[in-house]
């Protein structure tokens, strides 16, 4: 155990890179899709009509109270039963991530919108703007500033959550690393690598949030 063999990383690199690519794909798709769908949900929840706001509220509450792993299972095992044909692991994982994260992005976006004083809406309405214009021109630009750090945070969380896709037999970065670890008997090296990579990515994202905050303060 004394002699480390860091060469294992280089030898298994193509395999590890595949895992990394899957993690990246999941993060990008669930962030983009989640924010879009989350925005839709947030606008629905703000509606005065109960039949618009209600379903969105139920959806968000359900998604936020079940574990992601369960949602992954649902899509992998249940959806094929319902539609009568297999969906495929990657497709079901992507859909599950988007639908799950949307609930969280919805709440972040809602908090951002609510952080803008009601007087801003009144003032803009008083000039004759329509509600959609007020949202686009006045509320969103101000709310975005409040929500950006939280959005970054959520990206970090998603990145960490991608390791869960092993339950549908997909291999993200974490999974590929542990496969190599047990196959080559090099757990120390591989898990050190995983830790360093996660640390580097999360650290740079946190740093980005911090810099963004500083930029705002000026």
């Amino acid at each position: 155990m004394n002699d480390f063999d860091w060469g294992v990383i280089a030898r298994s690199w193509p395999f590890l890179a595949e895992g990394m690519a899957l993690s990246a794909l999941l993060v990008v798709v669930s962030t983009a899709g989640g924010i879009l769908l989350g925005l839709g949900l947030a606008l629905m929840r703000r509606s005065d009509h109960a039949f618009i706001a209600g379903p969105a509220t139920v959806y968000v509450t359900v998604m936020r109270s079940v574990p992601l792993i369960l949602v992954l299972f649902w899509f992998y095992f249940l959806v094929p039963l319902v539609i009568g044909r297999p969906v495929g692991a990657l497709a079901s994982a992507l859909v599950a991530f988007v639908l799950f994260e949307a609930a969280f992005y919805c709440e972040i976006i809602r908090a951002g919108i609510n952080s803008v004083r009601a007087g801003q809406t009144e003032a803009a309405l008083a000039t004759g703007m329509r509600r959609s214009q007020v949202m686009r021109l006045i509320i969103m630009p101000q709310g975005l500033r409040a929500m950006t750090p939280l959005l970054f945070n959520q990206v970090i969380i998603v990145f960490q959550d991608t390791s869960l896709v092993y339950v549908v037999a997909l291999r993200d970065f974490m999974t590929t690393a542990s496969v190599v670890a047990s196959r080559d008997g090099r757990p120390t090296e591989m898990y050190t690598l995983v830790a360093v990579v996660y640390l580097a990515i999360c650290f740079s994202l946190s740093k980005a949030i911090e810099l963004y905050g500083k930029g705002r303060a000026r």
Partner: protein, 242 residues
């Protein structure tokens, strides 16, 4: 110009307006005063439909505010409004604040809108502040920008809700002067304020509210010399004594 007829409004169980009837004629300046919580802000926000009412009717220049078929945004575009806390858009410059609704509501080109905004900001004495952001301006300057913003829609009437209450004393006059000039130009104005000096100089009539009712609606000379209710008398002694 503005006609309010038997307005009732409750928030939950609290009745805030109990049958308010009043009118502001073309070119007239009417001051609304009364103790805190008497419903002045609520009343003035009914005029452009920012606060929906439970009962009664409101018309502005003959157009019903309460009718479901009225295009409220179009109606609001013709009524300028100035708020106690200015409510300038913090992410825009003074010029952009004044141009925004011209571009998006009146569909003026940006160049046209900016030219008009420059004129208006000059009129309120802020030619040198076109590219300042609200947080770089004093309270008095912010309120003058917000008056320019309201004027940018070429409104038929202007509503003011305690435009000087949030200001340091030394900035009150610069705002009142702008308002006085507007009144002299013949603007129809409904002004919630405790500035009795302004009322005495500029207003034609004074409305006194208490407990959601309009207790007095008198020509200003009569209101100041001889208020008809005891509560108005008490209110006047209080605000005039300092």
């Amino acid at each position: 110009m503005i006609v309010l007829n038997d307005i009732h409004k409750s928030y939950g169980r609290t009745q805030v307006l109990r049958g308010c009837t009043a009118a502001v004629k073309l070119g007239e300046v009417v001051v609304v005063c009364g103790p805190s919580g008497s419903g002045k802000s609520t009343l003035i926000k009914c005029v452009n439909g920012l606060v929906p009412i439970d009962r009664g009717s409101i018309t502005v220049d003959g157009v019903s505010v309460t009718d479901k078929h009225t295009d409220l945004p179009a109606l609001r575009a013709q009524i300028g409004m100035v708020f106690q806390n200015f409510e300038l858009y913090p992410h825009m410059t003074a010029l952009q604040n004044v141009s925004l609704a011209q571009i998006h509501v009146l569909k003026r080109s940006r160049a046209e809108a900016d030219a008009r905004s420059e004129q208006l900001l000059a009129r309120v004495g802020l030619s040198s502040k076109l590219s300042s952001r609200p947080d770089q301006l004093s309270g008095g300057q912010q309120q003058r920008v917000s008056i320019a913003r309201a004027l940018s829609m070429d409104p038929k009437a202007m509503l003011f809700d305690e435009p000087t209450s949030a200001l340091d004393p030394e900035m009150v006059n610069e705002v009142l002067e702008v308002m006085q000039a507007l009144a002299l130009d013949g603007m129809t104005m409904m002004v919630v304020t405790h500035e009795m000096g302004f009322a005495q100089r500029v207003a034609e009539r004074v409305l006194f509210m208490d407990g959601g009712e309009i207790l007095e609606d008198s020509p200003k000379s009569q209101f100041f010399a001889n208020p008809s209710t005891e509560r108005a008398r008490q209110f006047l002694t209080k605000v005039l004594s300092h």
